[in-house]
Every structure is written in structure tokens, then in C-alpha cells.
Subunit: 278 residues, 4 copies
């Protein structure tokens, strides 16, 4: 029997959804700790996230909801558990380190299964936190060959989300397809500005007065996946692109960690190429 | 018969509220255009704002809800109508002007009944917008005497909200009591920092790196009423207090107009000395 | 004889510039009220803005500086005077109205020569401020034909800057060339994101969590001119593109007015396709 | 012979300062990499920070400047060197961890001499970074007694700055006097709002819509020292005070690290109870 769960619903909008769902909560004698709904008029989709407490069978609750609102709905009744995440990195430590510190702190509701990197210079940092560090060098390998080694390593782990903490390699469609909806990336610009390589250099050359960072789910289209969180910081003419990069790191790490927390708390729904964030 | 309404509910929290209310919406065959709820665990209060469309009798809908959730609930079924507002000002034009332009633009769902000021230098501006301007000078009058003249003038108007658009006079408890929950003020600081007179001078002397503005409902305690909206802007050592004041004006006007729009759209609930803003 | 001036210097960087310039200030017995310098290492350019007071002949001061640092330097010794601006608009009132209110307030150190629009619906607003309003409709005209009428009208005025306060027409290279470095535009996005038409719709479709506005000088390349100021505002999944547009207006007007003030105070230098803002 | 230095000047303002100083730079055949000045009209003080390169004797340069502008000026010619810092903490890891990661990264131009804490739960974290951790428990001790132990420990180290990374104990005037101008604190609110204990609880109770953090030098007056940096984050009615605390941590750590970097780069001058930050 469950005592607390997050109920997550994503379905075609129609009349009476809130009524039918809240009726079931009522019949199960649940307390609604928090409740948020959203209807996207364009996609005609209904999204709902309720945190409920009581004394209930999670599977039964899910079935009743599916019966009431239709089998084509996506319904999750998620009991509290730590999610498993795996981190991919290259050589920069700010985003990775921020996650490690938060994890140590108990701030993230997650277990870190390991860190896979294509360079070895983060090894000491990661191992200081007693987390497995696997270096899979790409030297002398084609993109394909390297990715196959990474995929093989990934198969050893069971994880809910893969976090690209400044993993500076482009993933193939095959890789992305395999972990659809599970890969979170931090892009070091305010997307969709400065897609592609070295956005800080692009930003510097364009002479912008604000720079930003974007956390998003990874899809086949590079830098085009659903955006989870964004933030910005002011810069001025005194910043060269290295200064922008340094300043941008603070935004990158905070935005990535914020997005990760939202995802771990089941607050993010994917709505075509956008997100609904409760 | 109504075709669209905002349903606003504020009551003691208990189990089944969402169910009971959404059941009535369902029985009335209403579309829920948007729906937001919040339970304050501390005050044990439930707040809900739903926008519904359909074909219904507003009074009957209200009665059914009251029957279902208890007579002690505060329930409003507000059909679309322009609210009436009255503006009080002194001599600064930025906040007042911003409201006048937005009003002309049709951006505010409100009629402006008039502007009452204790100086006459805004007369030309206001009259350019074909809005009545009444100057009630405080020269030679006690606070009490001046306020009585203002109250007398106010009685000529029917209004939903009174907006203090940089009205630089302190209101007596008597005045506030008479218009409880209806007076919106813009305070030119990031409350609760710099309560009282000349907050920019205080901010300058304290050497802050950020200044702000706060829109709030007015209560008996000066600058202590429920906060509706706040925003800030960065400053630095090159700003003297006059520069801070100039920079602050942009924040003041935007924050006041934002708060006013929230109130006009029935998005703000007062929850003891705080607000719930949907 | 002048008693106060802004000294603006833009030249190739070389050793001793500050020394040579400050020596002249010293010999003229000037007070330096404020002084800012910047060297762009990439373009190897030196920029300086000093506000000086004293009792001096402006032309003589300029000549001495040119003698000291080389004839190829751009040197201005600008005595205080109100600049003349002309505004171009289409039908939206928020950016235009913001400038009109600030002008009335004495906040802008400028005379507004007039407002030229391709629609007539801003006529009443503008005339309320006793400012000439000229409507040059584009109905039935080619871009070329319409622009010729506008250019002909512009020739009647003498102005320092032309402000496009949501002028929704694309200017031809010929037009831009004629007023090189004098045209300030507000683009309703966080450039370089969402170049081109309807950026709010683009932003909505991309699912961004932050929207922005960019004030820039106009060059031949649409939306590619040197950026003067930018700012942003947070949005979420509840915003459709009309909501983003409404929210964005507050950023647009504040950013445009901020850029205009910077330009009027001679704080903006163009450095290739960027700006130096003191 | 030095090849690069930061020249820091703080003196009573008078005519010709920039001329006299830049003349010396010229005579020493120095390149001015960057140069910033500020005159505080109220305190009548002149502040200057120049980064110069060349081939020079630092002491001689300093003496020449003192001769030129007067012996009462404060002049530093600081050659590049890593500063030494010591960290004081209690039990929260976010601010401390952020500094440790940046230090490991080489982002901070500093050596960390050690971490002194009044609890032992940060021991593992700190030692993972090979940095000495000293726990001086306050259990059973008076404030006076505990502080004496801390002071005794501090005497073992030579350091330029002491950073209170969420050190939750109030320092006595004696302690502060001993390290005047050397202690940097992060206060978990937007000072001067919410001075004193548990500012997040205070912020929650006041119902603010924005929370912040303030890095400042410590003086005798609790939470009243010169502010170096501040930043804020938006909150809403859904945040209880624990949520505000969690959200606030991201601002705290970023603001403290930003202030620390500014200080390490000699960018911060104290100007009575304010700062000038170049």
C-alpha cells in the first residue's frame, strides 16, 4: 500500500477530466497536497500533476483513472523513490561539480550511477565523491566507434536520466533514439541564439549585452529539443569571449541543476517540442 | 445567462473541494479554460481561480458551489466586465503616464474614473487623455482636513480599486479602513528594505547593488500590506541617489502596472498579510 | 567660452593616449567630472568619454587634442544641448507612448521634431502631446515609392537621431545609408534569436522560457546592427504567443528608452558591429 | 623587475590626478591594459585601478606615484600572485563546495589555507579536496571562549582574506577589529531587508515575491558592512520558507563566489560604508 504518490496525467483534453480524476481521489480518500493542471489549446492536450497522500494501492489508483478518462491517456502514479542518473562529461568541472556537491548535500533526489567522460581530467574530482568514473577516450576513433563503446558501457547501468554535464560531443540519431526523452543537456547559450559550436565566441562577435544558458531534452535535431529551463546574465563591452565563458559557467551550472531537479521531481512534461513545467 | 466567468473561491481547506467544485462545473456542462488551485498549509486555506465557458446562470452556479462546499466559503462568479479604477497621484508622471498609455491602448480591462492629485502639475497630462483631473491641494491643511476633502471627492465615484500612482501622502487608518482591500500602492523600494521616506536616498547611503519596487495592498501599517509584485534593477557605485531614483522609475511603473493587471484579471487573493497570485 | 562638455574620443590605440589627453585637460585647468576609457584589443581601438567642467574654448580644446593624439582620431567636444529626434511608428503605442511621457517629464534630453507613421491610429495620442504627427500611408505603394515619400518628409527636419518606435517596415539600403549611425530600432526579441517577422510567434513555437528585446543601430543587414541594450523577462508554458507579445511590450519600451537615453547622453560608441557603452 | 601589475590608488580627489598618474605610466613606458577611475563627489575621494605591463621596478613606480600625488594617498602596485584565503563554515556545503570546485578548477586566483568549522560534518567534503579541515566545536563554550580558540588557530595561518561561507556564528567586535577589511560574509537575504536570524523565514512571513543574497565585508555592525555584490531570484506563494531557503542557496553561492573573485582581482575598494567595484 502506498502512502504518497505523484499522479502524472497527459492526455487529449476533453470535458470533465478534472472532475473524473478528482472524484477518484475523493473515493480513494486521498489528500491532495498540491495540484496543477494545464490545457494546451494548440495541441489540445491536458496535463496534470497531483501530489496525493493517503493509504492506497498505486496500481489500482492508476487503473481507476485510466478507466475513467480513457486508455489512451498516459498516467503515472509514482511513489517516492530516488531516481538513478548517469552523467556524461568531457573536461569542464563546473556543471559536474555542482551536481556532485548537491548530491552529497542530499539536495538531489537521485543516485548517481557513474560518470562517463571522453577525457580523464575529471577522474580525481569524481572519485573524491566515491562515484565511479569511466574514461572512454575518443582518440583515434570515429564518432561511430566511440559511441558504440559508450553505449556498451551504458548498458551496464540502469538509469532514469542521462545528464550531459558539458559533454562536448555530438550524439548520433541512433544514440538519441535509444534514450529518447531521457537525455538532458546544458547548452551554453540562450537558445535558439548561437546554435552549434562555441556560442560564447559567437555571442562576443555579435556584441550581445546578455548571455544565457539553456537546459533541454536532447532530440535528433542538435540544440532543438524541448527547453526545460533558461537563465541569463548581463555582460558588457569589457567582456572578451573568455570572460563571457567564465561568466556563463555560473548560469550553465545553475540552469542545469535547476532542470535536473525539476525532472527528478516529475515536474516536467514534454508537449511536442516544448515542455510544461509545474 | 452567462457565457464566460471567472470563478474565485477562498475557503478553509478540506478534502474533496476540487472534486465537489469540478463536479458542479461538469453538471453545468462548462468548459474549464484555465484552472489553478493552491492550499496554504499554514493558514489551512484553499484558493481556486477557474475560467469557465458555457451557457449558465452565474448566480445559480455560485449558489450550487456554496451549497456543495459550505456557506462560509468566499465564492465569486465574475462575468467579464471592465472594472472601475480611480487614481491618486502627486507630481510624478511616470507611473500615472504608464497607466494612461496602457488604458488608451486597451491593455487594461478598466475604466479610469478620474485622477485626484494634491498638486496640479499633472493636470495637462491627464486631461490630454480626456480623463477628469481633480486637484485637492493640501496647502495649509492638516492631514485630517485634507483627507476629508479627498474622501468627500471619492464618494462621488464608484470604483473597484484605488491606485496610488506615486501618491506621496500617508493615509490615515480611517481612510484605509474605508477602502479595505481596494487600495494598491507602489512603494519605491524592494520592501521590506527601506521602509518610509526617500528609500532611494536610504539605498544610496547603504551602498546597495540592486534597487527595486514593490506593489502592495495598503493596510494600516505603512508599507506593510500584502505584496502583489516586486522587481529589481542593478545599480553600481556610479549611481548617486538621483540616478537610482531615475533608474527606479522604470521598475516602479512596470511593477505597478503589472500588479494592476493581475488585480483587474482577478488573479490576486489576499491570504492574511500575503497574496496568492495565479 | 564653454563651461561644460563631453569629450568623446575614438582612435587607434597607442601608448600615452591617457597621458596626452589628461595633460591637455590639466593645461586647460579643467575638472574631470567623470572619465571612462576602454581599449578593444581586437580592433585595437581606444574609446574615451570624459565630462569636463571649467572655462574653455571647445574648438581650441578639440584642436589641441587632435594635435596631441593625431589627426586621424575622431574627437568631439560636445557642449550641453538638447538633441533633436524624430520618431517613426506604425500602430503600437507602448514604445512611442513611453518616449512621449518621458519627454513630457523632462527625462529625455531631446526635442521631438515629429512622429511619422504609416498608419493614422496614433495621431490622437501624439497630438495630445502637441507633437506634429504625419501619416504617410503605404497603401497601394511599392516599398520604394513609400520610402521616397518618407525620405522627402524627413528632409524637412533637422535631427540627430531617428527612433523606430515599433516601425514595422523594412528599410532599404538606400534609406539606411542616408542616415548611417543615426537610426535606433527596437527589435522585439532577444537578438540574434528570432530574427525576422513575428519573433513572439517564433519564440512561442520554440517553447522558450525567457523572451527579450534588443535596441540596436540599424544597418543594411536586417536585425544585425550594433546592439545598444537588451533585456529579458521570464515566461512559461501558460503564455501563448499573444501573452508573450503583451509581456514583451514592457521589455521593449524600457529597453528602447534606455538605449535612447544612452545615445542622447553620448554614452554609446560604435565599434565595428558592436557598441561600447559607458 | 616586474612585467605586470595592478596599480590601485585611493586618495582625496584633486585636479590633475589622472594626468600626474598617467604621466608616470608614460615615463615608465608602460602599456595600460585596462584603466578605471571613479570620483565619489560626496566623500571627495578618487579611486583608480590600472593594469599595466612593461618592464619596471614596482617599488619605484609606487614611490613616483606617491611623490606626484601626495603621501597621504593609498597606493598599491600589486604584482600577480595568488592570494591566500581561509574559509570559515558551519554545516552547509553549497557555498563552501562552490568555492572548492572553483579552486580545483583554477578559477580562483587563490590558495586555500584551510577550512575552520564549528561542526564536523563538512570534514569529509573538505578533505576530499586535500585541504586542511579544523573543527573547533562551540559546545559548552561561551562565545568568547570559542572565539579565542578560533583566533588562536587563525594565528597559525597567513592569509589575505577570510571568507565566511555560511559561518553561522556572530563575531565579536574584537575579532572583527583584528581582521578589519579582510572578512567577507554571505548574508542570506537581500540586505538591508531581513537583518538577523533566519531571513528566509522572515521573507516567507512577509510574503515577498523576490529573495536575494548579499556578500559584504564584515564590520562591527552585524549585517551592516560594505556590500560587494547582491543578486536575487523570483519566488511565489507556492514557496514555503524551506523552499525559499533551497532556492536561495543558488543565489548565495554564486554571489559569494562572485564577490570573492572581485576581491581576489583587486577590483573592490572600500569607500566608507560602501564599495567601489571596478
Amino acid at each position: 500500500m502506498a502512502s504518497r504518490a505523484r499522479v502524472l496525467i497527459d492526455c487529449i483534453d476533453k470535458k470533465g477530466l478534472v472532475y473524473k480524476i478528482s472524484k477518484i481521489f475523493y473515493e480513494f480518500d486521498l489528500n491532495i497536497v498540491s495540484n496543477q493542471e494545464f490545457v494546451d489549446k494548440e495541441s489540445r492536450h491536458f496535463f496534470m500533476r497531483s501530489v496525493v497522500t493517503g493509504d492506497f494501492d498505486a496500481q489500482e489508483l492508476k487503473n481507476k483513472i485510466l478507466n475513467a478518462i480513457g486508455d489512451d491517456a498516459k498516467v503515472k502514479v509514482a511513489e517516492p523513490r530516488k531516481k538513478n542518473i548517469i552523467l556524461l562529461a568531457t573536461k569542464e568541472s563546473h556543471a559536474l561539480g555542482d551536481i556532485l556537491i548537491r548530491h552529497l548535500d542530499g539536495e538531489l533526489d537521485a543516485n548517481i550511477a557513474g560518470v562517463i567522460a571522453n577525457r580523464d581530467n575529471l577522474k580525481t574530482l569524481v572519485e573524491r565523491f566515491n562515484i565511479p568514473f569511466i574514461c572512454i577516450s575518443a582518440d583515434g576513433l570515429s564518432r561511430q566507434e566511440h559511441e558504440e563503446l559508450v553505449l556498451k558501457e551504458l548498458e551496464k547501468y540502469s538509469f532514469d536520466y542521462m545528464v550531459l554535464a558539458k559533454y562536448m560531443r555530438i550524439l548520433t540519431p541512433n544514440f538519441v533514439a535509444k534514450y529518447k526523452g531521457k537525455i538532458i543537456n546544458i547548452h551554453h547559450s540562450f537558445l535558439p541564439a548561437f546554435i552549434g559550436a562555441n556560442p560564447y565566441k559567437q555571442a562576443y562577435e555579435r556584441g550581445v549585452k546578455i548571455i544565457g544558458a539553456t537546459a533541454h531534452f536532447v532530440t535528433d535535431d542538435l540544440d532543438e529539443g524541448p527547453i526545460i529551463a533558461q537563465d541569463v546574465i548581463a555582460v558588457n563591452h569589457r567582456y572578451d569571449w573568455k570572460d563571457m565563458q567564465r561568466a556563463g559557467r555560473d548560469v550553465e551550472k545553475v540552469v542545469l541543476s535547476r532542470a535536473l531537479k525539476l525532472v527528478l521531481e516529475d515536474r516536467v512534461f514534454v508537449n511536442n517540442n516544448k515542455t510544461v513545467v509545474f
